[in-house]
């Protein structure tokens, strides 16, 4: 899940990214009230992610210092939890529910169609980086199965066709234009 660039950064010294000092100041503010050995690290992740949409890598050494542990332990935890991100989310995140109720009601077709329409693999972004397709865990809204979520809105029960039409509208592709293009 970590990009190639950040892997390299662990072996090659890199100059701090622009805005790094601001991040340091802000992260320190966010985690100020939290204590080590007080079950606070998850709260720290959530506070930082709430602010930035992800946990910037500048936060890792700060967290390690703050919680009396090593950066490896902190990064290990960030990497472990699937809801904690290490990169900024795209403008539009389409969450596809992976749960069994959705599966039994045809979510696989929806997944394949969304990947095709958005031109993004699961847990990846469109080539322009604007749309992101994300695998979501079941939250028990199974009366809407199969469903996708977008900006806190639930769309379901979906048929593959409905999902395609919705995703095309989201990307600004006109259905008529698509039909014309394909017949041409």
């Amino acid at each position: 899940m970590f990009s190639q660039a950040s892997h390299n950064s662990r072996v090659q010294p890199v100059s701090p990214a622009p805005g790094a000092t601001e991040i340091v100041t802000r992260v320190n503010e966010l985690i100020a009230g939290l204590r080590p050995d007080n079950v606070d690290m998850l709260a720290a992740f959530h506070r930082i992610q709430h602010e930035y949409g992800y946990v910037p890598r500048e936060a890792v050494p700060l967290l390690a210092g703050h919680f009396n542990t090593s950066p490896a332990i902190v990064f290990g935890a960030i990497d472990f939890y699937s809801e904690i991100r290490t990169n900024a989310p795209a403008e539009e995140v389409v969450e596809w529910c992976s749960g069994p109720a959705c599966l039994l009601k045809g979510s696989m077709g929806i997944r394949r169609a969304l990947e095709a329409v958005l031109d993004a693999p699961m847990n990846g972004t469109t080539p322009d980086g604007k749309f992101e397709l994300r695998l979501a865990q079941c939250d028990g809204t199974c009366h809407l199965a199969p469903l996708v979520r977008n900006k806190g809105n639930y769309l379901g029960p979906l048929s593959t066709s409905k999902a395609i039409e919705w995703a095309r509208r989201l990307r600004g592709i006109e259905p008529a234009a698509v039909a014309a293009e394909e017949t041409a």
Binding site: Y81, S98, L103, A113, C138, G140, L147, E182
Partner: protein, 617 residues
């Protein structure tokens, strides 16, 4: 500091306005399930409209009744008239609904049921609804009835009475009461809750911890969510009772990240408990202290394993630990801890309030009390029910859930989450208790029941669960992280038509090896595949030997073909996301290179496009 008596009389006062309103009272169920279909918009619309019309009515928020299929549900209670539940009240239906409140108009077209046992005209009573009949609602007594954000509603309905009793008893007596109720852990392992509490009580080191496992990670299970967001104080009271009984110092309520509303509601309930002297220092003047803290998880299934959860609390990866030592000796920060599921703690207030004998009056010889179950998948009525243990599975699935959709047949029931197996349709009559499920190589589990019908493929389901187990494996044991991966590879091979006879033996071998994993994640991962062997061998062999998927779900064994001419084919062409429906010289065909098998074309032109077995001819 107020005494319980003072709290109660103030609460009774507040509750009277809800139970016997002087003017019309409109209750809107707002929970995760109803929010997903717009309950908050309905609530806003109701408030706006009530103000705009100048209606003499109050609008109130409640939790979830468990009837997810009928959400958003709005209850209207007019003074001197029975309360009526209205279903699927989207904002657009609000004006029509409010005509009922305003001038007694008839909205029976929108009505779901009348609260209570008496029908009113054409509207049936709630008790007579198939979904409701047979339920014994003890844990869920307040769900959808009270405001989950109002502690007074909870207290007025007998809340914190159990705690006051526990505070007057010796800790050992409280534990004895819980033991004699024969309550066992509702998280799936079915171990005696009283005994577990006794282990912690007997532990010498201090401080001691109470941990609540509200990391309901089983996909398709949402019973804890329903309870947490509809009646959070029931859990808080149970946790404080556990703390008093075990002389613990601190509780951690670990709620999964995917449940933002329950996190918010439990956090609010904890604050209210502190404000009213029901938690914190000197609880209700007893001189006893007990602290509560809500911890929000971050998306990891193995954190629902008790030792995984402990690791997660310790500011690092949530990797399950090796047992022994058990949590009662060395839990959070290597100090004595007790971990139970939400439902286990939530039963404690009922046991203390009404006595163990009353509590054990329902259930079977070996399994007492009630249990919540969630129904999802191929079932007509998705929702949450609470039934006595020992209730036939068919009663819940076929009667309450309404069975599979019209024209289909039941195939199997998947209970207890991804680490459990399937129960074939023929065994649908088995009672809902751990033993019959265990006899069939499954577990009853924490309450999730996912229903499969004949349109579903068992190999497809196994691939999903093995993928899930592989994806969520923490990476400690090779038998688990590599075993599930190999298992997934084999299953995918079978579903793509490249299965071989030797695969059967390999799967069996992997299933046996996985038993050497440290925690239940690895040990339970092959269960679903093993139960496929046991109950659906024919279907598996059909995939393996004849390269045919009877349900036509395995993408590698089917292809889409234009089988008839139809006027609908241009629609199929327009919808196809990859341009695989192509027209050549006026005739349509499917470009197999481009087709991703998403099924959209068949939705548009169901008779013109067929599913063909690749290896059939």
């Amino acid at each position: 500091m107020a005494t319980y008596k003072e709290l109660r009389s103030a609460a009774d006062e507040a509750w009277r306005a809800v139970a016997n309103p002087k003017r019309a009272l409109i209750k809107v169920g707002v929970a995760t399930c109803s929010r997903s279909v717009g309950a908050e918009e309905t609530l806003d619309a109701l408030r706006r409209e009530v103000a705009a019309r100048g209606l003499d009515a109050d609008v109130m928020v409640t939790g979830c009744l468990g009837l997810c299929y009928a959400e958003p549900i709005v209850e209207v209670q007019r003074p001197g008239a029975p309360a009526v539940l209205y279903q699927q009240i989207k904002p657009g239906r609000v004006p029509e609904l409010l005509d009922v409140v305003g001038h007694g108009g008839d909205a029976s077209g929108l009505a779901l049921a009348v609260v209570g046992e008496q029908a009113a005209g054409a509207i049936p009573s709630l008790e007579s609804l198939p979904f409701w009949r047979g339920q014994v609602r003890r844990l869920m007594a307040n769900c959808g009835v009270t405001d989950p954000g109002n502690i007074e509603h909870y207290i007025a309905n007998g809340g914190y009475e159990g705690l006051t009793k526990a505070l007057k008893m010796a800790p050992a007596e409280v534990i004895e009461e819980v033991k004699s109720s024969r309550l066992w852990g509702r998280g799936g392992a079915a171990f005696s809750t009283g005994l577990k509490w006794e282990f912690l009580y007997n532990a010498k080191s201090r401080p001691k911890y109470i941990v609540v496992n509200a990391d309901e990670g089983d996909p398709g299970a949402f019973v804890n969510r329903n309870l947490l967001e509809s009646d959070p104080h029931l859990l808080i009271e149970g946790v404080v009772i556990a703390g008093i009984a075990t002389e613990a110092d601190q509780a951690y309520v670990y709620i999964r990240d995917e449940y933002p509303l329950p996190v918010a509601r439990v956090e609010k309930a904890v604050l209210q408990a502190y404000e009213n002297g029901l938690a914190g220092r000197d609880i209700l003047g007893s001189g006893k202290n007990f602290e509560l803290k809500v911890v929000r998880g971050a998306g990891s299934y193995v954190c629902g394993d008790e030792t995984g959860l402990l690791s997660s609390l310790e500011d690092r990866r949530g990797m399950p630990k090796i047992k022994p030592p058990y949590p009662a000796q060395a839990g959070v920060f290597a100090l004595p801890s007790n971990i139970n599921n939400v439902e286990s703690y939530a039963n404690a207030p009922l046991i203390l309030r009404h006595g163990a004998e009353w509590w054990a009056s329902v259930g079977t010889e070996r399994n007492k009390g009630t249990k919540m179950f969630s129904l999802s998948g191929q079932v007509r009525r998705v929702g949450v029910v609470e039934v006595p243990l020992g209730t036939p599975t068919s009663e819940v699935v076929m009667k309450m859930g309404g069975g599979v959709p019209e024209g289909r047949t039941l195939k199997a029931i998947q209970s207890g989450g991804p680490l459990s197996g399937v129960i074939p349709a023929i065994d649908v009559g088995i009672p809902l208790e751990p033993e019959p499920y265990r006899d069939r190589g499954s577990i009853m589990g924490a309450g999730g029941l996912v229903i499969m019908d004949d349109t579903n493929c068992i190999v497809d389901l196994c691939i999903y669960f093995e993928w899930f187990a592989e994806d969520e494996s923490c990476g400690r044991c090779t038998t688990c992280f590599a075993g599930t991966r190999r298992m997934l590879e084999i299953l995918r091979r079978i579903s793509s038509g490249r299965g071989r006879k030797a695969d059967l033996e390999l799967i069996n071998l992997l299933g046996r090896i996985a038993q050497n994993a440290n925690c239940f994640h690895g040990q339970g991962a092959p269960t679903v595949v093993m139960s496929m062997f046991r109950f659906f061998e024919d279907e598996l062999l059909e995939h393996l030997e004849r390269k045919r998927c009877p349900a036509k779900k395995c993408a590698g064994l089917i292809r889409y073909e234009v089988v008839h001419e139809s006027d609908l084919l241009p629609l199929a062409e327009a919808i196809c996301p990859t341009g695989a429906v192509v027209r050549h010289n006026g005739a349509y065909r499917i470009d197999q290179e481009k087709c991703v098998k998403c099924d959209a074309c068949r939705e548009q032109a169901p008779y013109a496009i067929g599913l063909v077995d690749i290896f059939s001819s």
